[in-house]
């Protein structure tokens, strides 16, 4: 009986301690501990050394695919996002069509479709155009357009490039919606003030609306970058030798499934968690700036 009265008399300090304990980012501590344990295991195990050496080139491929595809994706996204807020019905409908199609397709399907259907078709058309220009003597017969995609001419469009194009088209649709939301979050008065000073629509967008909108959408764009890093593992389906593909190759030949996929997961996690901490910092900075 006494115990119950005791605890009710000292709840404040004890409550505060449990509260502040609950506030601690335990998940980071657990992760960091796990990482340290894993690194120690990796260092002391010859098999892990071999796996790391085998996957090292994949890290570069994964990062390269992610960064290039992302740069194109936000460019497409900005253009399509501006189209989504346009009052011109043709531009609006084209942008909406693009966004709806791309968001409705699984990314793996987009990768396969772009790589094996769209790009071969486009290359063929470019070849036809190049041959036509050669036939009217505008270009030599062996011009770049006519030989595009030809392996012997060194103009092959390899699967890494195809994968980058597909990821960029796909993710462009997601970032388009982020840009649209950002632009729409800026009050109508800003556009009116800019227009009343004599700026045209594009000048007002460029100097007044977009600088504010882009600041607001930096955190979601950062999250998109992390998502892109993870989704880039799908390029392994095209045989592009990223971390995932090299992991599949190594495990299939050595039967070291546990250790290989431990390493694969560890590599992705250490990149995505570092990036998500970066996005968190960015978020709090933007919040305190108002």
């Amino acid at each position: 009986m006494n115990q119950t009265t005791d605890t009710s008399e000292i709840p404040s300090t004890q409550g505060q301690i449990t509260d502040s304990l609950a506030q601690l980012p335990w998940w980071i501590l657990i992760l960091a501990l796990g990482a340290i344990v894993l690194v120690i295991i990796f260092i002391n195990d010859q098999t892990y050394h071999e796996i790391f050496a085998f996957l090292r080139d994949g890290i570069i491929v994964t990062i390269r695919v992610t960064i290039i595809a992302y740069a194109f994706a936000i460019t497409f996204g900005l253009i399509a996002g501006l189209g989504r807020v346009s009052t011109n019905p043709i531009i609006y409908n084209l942008a909406t069509l693009y966004v709806q199609i791309m968001r409705g397709l699984p990314i793996l399907v987009t990768l396969l479709y772009v790589s094996f259907v769209i790009i071969p078709l486009v290359i063929t058309q470019i070849n036809v155009f190049g041959n036509y220009l050669a036939s009217i003597n505008l270009l030599p017969a062996d011009n770049v357009l006519a030989l595009l995609g030809d392996r012997r001419a060194g103009l092959e469009v390899n699967f890494e490039i195809r994968a980058i194009i597909a990821l960029a088209i796909s993710y462009g649709a997601f970032s388009a919606e982020i840009f649209r939301a950002g632009i729409e979050s800026i009050g109508r008065g800003q556009m009116e003030a800019a227009r009343s000073l004599g700026m045209n629509y594009f000048e007002a967008m460029r100097h007044i609306i977009l600088p504010q909108a882009v600041r607001r959408v930096l955190p979601p764009l950062g999250n998109d970058f992390i998502a892109m890093l993870k989704e880039s593992s799908l390029v392994s389906a095209l045989g592009v030798q990223d971390i995932t593909q090299l992991g599949r190759l190594y495990s299939a030949s050595s039967f070291e499934y546990l250790k290989t996929y431990n390493m694969v997961a560890f590599m992705y996690l250490s990149m995505t968690i570092l990036l998500s901490l970066g996005v968190k910092v960015m978020e709090t900075r933007l919040k305190t700036d108002g």
Partner: protein
């Protein structure tokens, strides 16, 4: 085009603006001479703000014609930006650009629209900040300024474009009472300097002291258009009397 349209700074002819079934402005005609200060008063929803916004085509009139400094505005007008840069506008909510400092707020349109050099734009901006009495705030972002200071920067921003007409859309309605005077003082100075001004406001003191004409609007139409003395001392319409009795103690 007849001559009167060239003489007057702003000509509004049979202008109507409908929002769906609501007739915000109903067949209004007005002429405002160069250097004239016109105050528009009326109950909320009387169409006075909409009429003001029609003058620089922030609202495109459903019907009618507008001339600003002899330039004709109609639905098909392509040179709308050419007109807008001659018409300064001050908003109830200030609408300063929050990502730019006070000085940058004033230079941006000069540089983009007037194509002035950076140096020249900054010089003009500093002069205008001096004119509205806050030269020391040039490096400050709008979020750190009081409402009255923000509105004065907004006035400076409009003036920096060397407009021929200034439109004020309830410039003091969003301000705390103790800040209203500092904004009205700037507007009074402008009026004395001979700026053509069209002011929508509830500040009857400003209408009395600065206006050449006061226009009373109700339900989208001009009810009375006369001198401040006549309007306040012997209004000719019942609706004007009713409105004034409510607003003046």
């Amino acid at each position: 085009m007849d001559n009167s349209k060239n003489e007057a700074m702003v000509v509004i002819e049979n202008v109507s603006k409908h929002f769906g079934h609501v007739r915000a402005v109903n067949n209004v005609s007005l002429k405002i001479k160069s250097g004239e200060v016109v105050v528009i008063i009326g109950p909320s929803g009387s169409g006075k703000s909409t009429l003001l916004r029609c003058i620089n085509f922030l609202e495109i009139p459903t019907d009618g014609d507008i001339w600003v400094d002899g330039i004709h505005l109609s639905k098909k007008t392509k040179n709308i930006n050419a007109v807008r840069r001659e018409v300064g506008m001050v908003f109830q909510q200030f609408n300063l650009f929050p990502h730019l400092t006070a000085l940058q707020n004033i230079t941006i349109a000069q540089r983009v629209v007037r194509k002035r050099s950076k140096q020249e734009a900054i010089e003009v901006a500093r002069q205008q900040l001096q004119r509205v009495g806050i030269p020391e705030k040039e490096g400050v972002y709008p979020g750190q300024l009081s409402g009255g200071q923000q509105q004065r920067v907004a006035i400076a921003r409009a003036l920096a474009m060397n407009p021929k007409v200034m439109l004020f859309d309830e410039p003091t309605s969003a301000l705390d009472p103790e800040m209203i005077k500092e904004v009205l003082d700037v507007m009074l100075d402008l009026a004395k300097e001979g700026m053509t001004m069209v002011v929508v406001t509830h500040e009857m003191g400003f209408a009395r002291n600065a206006a050449d004409r006061v226009i009373f609007m109700d339900e989208g139409s001009v009810v009375e258009d006369t001198t401040p003395h006549d309007l306040f001392n012997n209004p000719s319409h019942e609706r004007t009397k009713l409105f004034l009795s409510k607003i003046l103690k």
